[in-house]
């Protein structure tokens, strides 16, 4: 465990007195007083290696020059960084490093932001005494995304250490000895790793650069915009760099944002989807069955008229709206306001319905918050972490880094419940770091959770105060878990009594604990109940409500959290407040100067049903693509085809947009201002990096213009004006500081839950899932998120397609052997509903009996799937199905 020290040390650096915490390194202490000590190998994220010898300083009473990057401060230390001896050493180290350096700055992409270049200008003469032959490495094709030029390498090993210490990937290693040391990867193929771009970012010279922007720029040509990534819910701060409206590169400054400068492949290499040639550049109207391009005025006037007509004929209740939670808060806020006021319908929903809303509902129910009560910092400092149903490395990689940091740097206990086998592969695997891993089958995660609760209650790890505070609650839960037998739990999950008890003990006894749950829970039946059970686990162990503890549901899309808070949900008004909440309606009416329609909301699947029945006539779809997302058997295509008016605001002509009557080109996140709320509940600024592509416009602007034409003007000058209104309407949007202040659980709500709230669905929640018995030749097909894609948006990103451009069926080696399937072979996957062909890839981390296919490329898989609709939250679940897999001859 990391010890937080308050002890301080006084020292003098170049005559300046400074007081720093004990354990601070001299180089950091110097930075505090503005003394920058040159260095290559040091990086605050990494353990010191002291190999470049650039940061040598004089320290009184020490015999030789000392490396300031590896020397901790001590009381009374006197450091000198600018004496002639020190300057001489800087010069000499640079002379050594430059001896073999090719000095090819004119063709090096690092030129202009290269540490070696900068220090050379500062310390060395312009001519070199080195007249021998320079060392030359054979040029290698490294990978489609990362370029290496080892002749430029200064062997600081920052890339290698980053890849190991931060990413836990270990894709890079030094090879060769002495001057012949070069950075390589393992195997005789091109680099095959997580492509987080960390090595590109951390290289102090031009040895490792991005191929996506090779030779295209000099740093001073680039316009920078600090904004937020549009892929997953981690909400990483990125800096988009553009040259003349062309996206050149993305990076993230060290320490910046919630990601502290770390990125994943999607963030670092996935930016080019914004300028994909297939972007919609002009509005389109369907005429004689064809979508034809028209000017904005024509499209909007046509649309306004059509809306008004339809509303007159069928009433406002014939309208529904569906929004993507990739949109900004401003877009989403205006979307629901437009639907509720300009149209007059509460029938709105967002893609948060697929899963994230389940978690928010459970949080509201048990603790009265809709956000995490913990932060990323709490994850890093947690004594114990419980990960349920999340292959975090692939779905939420940066939250994954926080988990890795907690374990690797601070020795946290990690309990994982996820269908992953611990195995070394090209991607890091959180199961490898786990202290208590339950490789349960998808669908049985809830049973493992019940097992843990049983182990806590029966293993004597109950919080002492709780029994007094809520005896009935404890007794009820004790009775429930008492009815579950260990053998039943084991036969369902494969988790033994002793393993569960050990994990429960470690979790309960840790000083702080955070539960992280992902799509494996949130997008499977009973999601809200399982989240509630996990909150029970926190309550029972006494972690609930304690500072540094909490439950952290991971959002799949970047603004799932924001969509719900903006009230783009059937059951919520902005806030979120229940749609039936009279006080909230009144407050909103005060701001809006108009009444919220009295009607009730409608969820995604019910919209599909009503459209099929002809009850819905018009539908606004903002950035969402239900046709490609939902299984074919839901009949979504046929339902949408029955609409009189389908309007799509989109970046691309998606499967849904192809059915639309009006298609309006929207701007991507890179072209607009606004805010995103990450899964942690942190509201962050999105800034425009390039001008809108073609004639596209931000979604809110489209809605604003349309509302005016419809005679209900919702006018705003810019996104900030909408944000001002959001601020006055929704709590939690008043502060946009560098670190989030998590809400504390509402004591009254918790009390109400403990007194009676828990009881209503106890029987459903505390029941083992009935595992379907399947034939021995059946496999469970599961749609999964992969590291290299997010939704379908990323499948337009050139960089990501270079790593993964199609879906492959991942299967366990034993299952593959049994079917005589070799890696890379074509297979046929079939069940009673349909079949598809794909390539097999064999991965040891996939457990036996399971085959995984990426959801991003699942168009052909849709016929095989069926959706189960949650009876309570109406979320459609369709990630799993039973299939047979055979080799294709």
């Amino acid at each position: 465990m990391h010890e937080v020290t308050t002890e301080t040390i006084n020292l003098t650096i170049d005559g300046i007195a400074v007081t720093v915490p004990k354990g601070t390194l001299v180089i950091e202490a110097a930075r505090r007083v503005g003394v920058m000590i040159p260095h290559f190998c040091y990086h605050p994220k990494l353990t010191p290696d002291a190999n470049c010898r650039m940061c040598l300083v004089e320290i009184e009473k020490m015999p030789r020059l000392q490396t300031s990057c590896s020397t901790p401060v001590s009381e009374g230390m006197v450091v000198r960084t600018a004496t002639s001896v020190v300057n001489e050493s800087h010069k000499s180290v640079l002379e050594f490093i430059l001896a073999n350096h090719p000095l090819d700055c004119p063709v090096c992409d690092q030129g202009g932001r290269c540490d070696l270049q900068d220090y050379s200008h500062e310390y060395t003469p312009t001519t070199s005494r080195f007249i021998e032959i320079k060392r030359i490495f054979k040029k290698e094709y490294f990978s489609p995304l990362i370029e290496t030029q080892m002749n430029r390498c200064v062997q600081c090993l920052r890339c290698v250490r980053y890849c190991d210490q931060v990413m836990d990937v270990n894709a890079l290693a030094p090879s060769g000895r002495g001057t012949m040391t070069e950075i390589k990867h393992f195997g005789d193929h091109e680099l095959d790793c997580e492509f987080c771009g960390g090595c590109v970012q951390i290289c102090p010279v031009g040895a490792i650069t991005s191929r996506l922007s090779m030779y295209e720029f000099r740093p001073w040509m680039l316009k920078r915009a600090d904004t937020i990534c549009t892929y997953c819910g981690d909400g990483c701060q990125i800096t988009i760099q553009a040259k003349e409206n062309e996206l050149i590169e993305v990076n993230s400054a060290h320490g910046a944002g919630r990601n502290t400068g770390d990125l994943c492949a999607r963030g670092f290499f996935g930016y080019q989807m914004s300028t994909h040639p297939h972007r919609l550049t002009s509005p389109m109207i369907r005429r004689h069955g064809e979508l034809v391009a028209v000017p904005w005025e024509e499209a909007l006037e046509y649309l306004a008229e059509a809306c008004v007509k339809l509303k007159l004929a069928h009433g406002a209740q014939a309208f529904a709206g569906l929004a993507s939670s990739r949109c900004t808060n401003e877009d989403l806020y205006l979307f629901q306001k437009f639907m509720r006021l300009a149209i007059g319908s509460n029938k709105i929903d967002s893609s948060a319905r697929y899963g994230h809303i389940n978690a928010v509902r459970a949080l509201r129910r048990v603790q009265g918050t809709h956000r995490w009560a913990a932060t990323f910092e709490d994850i890093v400092r947690a004594g114990a972490l419980l990960l349920v149903g999340t292959n975090i490395t692939e779905t939420n990689p940066i939250t994954g880094l926080k988990v890795k940091e907690a374990i690797k740097k601070h020795g946290a206990t990690l309990v994982t419940v996820e269908s992953l086998e611990p195995a070394v592969g090209k991607l890091s695997n959180i199961a490898n770091l786990s202290t208590h891993h339950f490789s349960a089958f998808p669908g049985t995660y809830p049973d493992v959770v019940l097992g843990l609760i049983k182990a806590v209650i029966e293993g004597g790890h109950l919080n002492a105060d709780l029994a007094a505070r809520a005896p009935a609650y404890v007794q009820a839960l004790r009775d429930r878990v008492g009815a579950l037998t260990w053998s039943a739990i084991e036969s369902s999950t494969g988790a033994s009594e002793s393993a569960l008890k050990e994990a429960a003990q470690a979790f309960a006894q840790a000083p702080t604990a955070v539960i992280i749950l992902g799509q494996g829970v949130l997008r499977t039946p009973g999601a809200e109940g399982v989240t509630t059970n996990l909150l029970d686990l926190l309550i029972l162990t006494g972690h609930h409500g304690r500072s540094g503890c909490g439950i952290a549901p991971l959002a799949e899309e970047n603004n799932d959290q924001g969509a719900i808070e903006m009230g783009v949900a059937a059951e919520f008004l902005p806030g979120p407040y229940d749609i039936t909440d009279a006080a909230a309606r009144e407050r909103l009416a005060g701001v809006w100067k108009d009444e919220v329609p009295p009607s009730s909301g409608l969820t995604l699947m019910d919209m599909v049903d009503e459209a099929r029945l002809g009850k819905l006539k018009g539908m606004f779809v903002m950035g969402e693509n239900p046709v490609a997302s939902l299984p074919a058997s839901t009949g979504v295509t046929e339902a949408l085809q029955r609409l009189d008016l389908l309007v799509c605001q989109e970046l691309f002509l998606t499967e849904t947009a192809k059915l639309a009557h009006v298609v309006l080109p929207a701007s991507s996140y890179a072209e607009k201002d606004g805010t995103f709320t990450n899964s942690e509940g942190h509201v962050q600024q999105v800034r425009r990096a390039i001008d809108p592509v073609g004639d596209s416009r931000p979604d809110w602007e489209i809605l604003s213009a349309l509302s005016s034409l419809m005679g209900y003007p919702l006018e705003y000058g810019d996104a900030r004006e909408i944000f001002k209104e959001i601020r006055s309407t929704i709590p939690g949007y008043r502060l946009m500081g560098p670190a989030p202040q998590p809400p504390r659980p509402d004591g009254q709500v918790v009390d109400r839950y403990l007194q009676e709230g828990y009881a209503k669905d106890l029987a459903t929640r505390y029941r083992l899932s009935s595992s379907p018995s399947v034939g021995s030749d059946h496999l469970t097909l599961r749609l999964v998120q992969t590291l290299f894609h997010s939704g379908k948006l990323s499948t337009y990103a050139k960089g990501l397609l270079a790593v993964q451009d199609k879906g492959c069926l991942a299967m366990n080696p034993a299952d593959a052997d049994q079917r005589e399937i070799a890696a890379g072979q074509m297979v046929i996957v079939r069940n009673g509903q349909g079949e598809f062909r794909t390539q097999a890839t064999i991965l040891e981390r996939v457990p036996r009996g399971l085959v995984c296919f990426p959801e991003h490329f699942a168009a052909e898989v849709r016929p095989l799937l069926s959706a189960v609709v949650d009876p309570v939250t109406r979320s459609p679940y369709f990630l799993s199905t039973e299939v047979q897999v055979a080799k294709l001859d």
Binding site: V93, F96, Q155
Partner: protein, 435 residues
């Protein structure tokens, strides 16, 4: 011939001594272990070793008992002993003989050290090329395990000491104690920066002592005959005991000679080594392995103890004494050593990595009569800029041959450079004549 009492080589010089467990026991082996196991407190063993004045025989000469004393007090958890058998210093071959001819002596030393520092595990990190020594040690370890000297509950004392062999993979740097630990952990053998020292954070982040084979082999004798006896041998108070000098080069009888510390170079070379191999007089001496600066015939009366050799501007190092006769090119000798260091520089620190490549190229150029007038200044600068600026002592070592040959035989460099310049001049004249 037995002028001095031998300690380490005594057994193996007995006729018919095979180094087997039976032979070793017959010669009084494992008595020291029996004497202390469960009878003498571990810290008292450390005190005994401190009292004996035993200093490390690997090169740095750090007092062994003091090194042990750096282990954290009141620490409960694993402590490791690593026996450094990665003997790779050019001109050094004493550990090899100790391991091949009397393996149990070293093993007993390891066991005593383990007992003293409360280590339950000892790793013998042996040079990969020492295949014979590895086989012999493995066999000896099997014998010792069967006899109950090694393993769980050693000789019924309740003390557990496991000894494992680990073969190196051919890197000189892995003889450096922290690089050895990295290599032992399965990583690339690169030195760690210090502090923390291995005694605090060593193998697998646990307190660790790394001792040389010869150092450890001395332990049974110190226990058996007492620290006072040991301290009286050699050149007390600071250089006690004997030293096995590995005499090589242009002498009549090269080989390992165990003599008390403090005899002169002259005695070693001319009495024990039988003098120079031919009529040519002595020209240069490396007194302590390739890392030690060269000495000249003027230093023949320097006493072979740590202090005296250091005072003469070199170091006692690993005990490898290489002798060169008149007629040897010192530039060639320094280049040859530089090539070794260039080949073995691990590449961690910029000055050593880049400097060794630079130095070796310049040396080769001078030797090939393509030197330039300013090369000697550059060489001197580079050497100064490497020494003392690297993580481990390799940086200091690699410049020793060049620095010392430049000091004593600078004219040899100058002659080669003059010849190069003369040749250049001829070429320029010829080029001019053609026009």
């Amino acid at each position: 011939m037995a002028k001095y009492e031998k300690i380490l080589l005594a057994n193996m010089e007995q006729p018919g001594y095979t180094g087997s467990l039976a032979d070793y026991e017959r010669a009084g082996g494992y008595q020291a272990l029996k004497k202390i196991l469960g009878k003498v407190q571990p810290n008292e063993v450390t005190e005994t070793v401190k009292k004996s004045g035993l200093r490390g025989r690997g090169g740095a000469g750090f007092p062994t008992g003091v090194k042990w004393g750096f282990l954290p007090k009141d620490y409960r958890g694993p402590i490791y002993l690593c026996c450094n058998a990665d003997e790779s210093e050019p001109g050094t071959f004493k550990d090899r003989q100790l391991m091949e001819r009397d393996p149990h002596q070293m093993i007993e030393g390891c066991l005593i050290a383990c007992y003293a520092i409360r280590a339950e595990t000892c790793y013998v990190y042996i040079r990969g090329e020492y295949t014979l020594a590895t086989t012999i040690l493995e066999k000896a370890l099997t014998e010792a395990r069967r006899a109950g000297y090694v393993g769980q509950n050693v000789l019924g004392s309740g003390v557990n000491i496991e000894v494992w062999m680990h073969r190196g993979a051919g890197a000189y740097i892995c003889g450096e104690e922290t690089a050895l630990l990295e290599s032992l952990e399965g990583k690339r053998g690169l030195p760690r920066f210090k502090p923390p020292f291995p005694a605090v954070v060593g193998l697998y982040q646990k307190p660790t002592v790394v001792n040389n084979v010869e150092t450890l082999a001395n332990l049974p004798h110190i226990i058996n005959k007492g620290p006072e006896w040991f301290a009286s041998i050699g050149s007390p108070p600071k250089s006690t005991g004997t030293r096995i000098f590995c005499l090589s080069g242009h002498v009549k009888q090269p080989g390992n000679y165990e003599v008390p510390m403090g005899i002169t170079l002259r005695e070693l070379i001319f009495e024990h080594g039988g003098g120079m191999r031919s009529q040519k007089p002595l020209k240069a001496i490396i007194p302590g392995g390739a890392s030690a600066p060269f000495l000249t015939p003027d230093h023949l009366d320097v006493k072979l103890d740590f202090e005296a050799v250091a005072q003469a501007g070199s170091m006692l190092g690993s005990g490898g004494v290489t002798v060169m006769e008149e007629g040897t090119s010192m530039v060639w000798a320094a280049t040859r050593l530089m090539e070794f260091f260039y080949h073995e520089s691990c590449g961690k620190c910029s000055p050593c990595r880049e400097g060794s490549a630079w130095l070796v190229q310049t040396m080769r150029r001078i030797l090939a009569k393509r030197g330039r007038a300013d090369d000697l200044d550059t060489l001197t600068d580079l050497c100064k800029n490497i020494a003392g600026r690297t993580v481990c002592a390799f940086g200091d070592a690699e410049v020793a041959p060049i620095m010392s040959t430049l000091q004593y035989w600078r004219h040899e460099y100058e002659e080669l450079i003059e010849q190069a310049e003369a040749a250049n001049l001829v070429q320029i004249e010829m080029a001019g004549a053609k026009q």
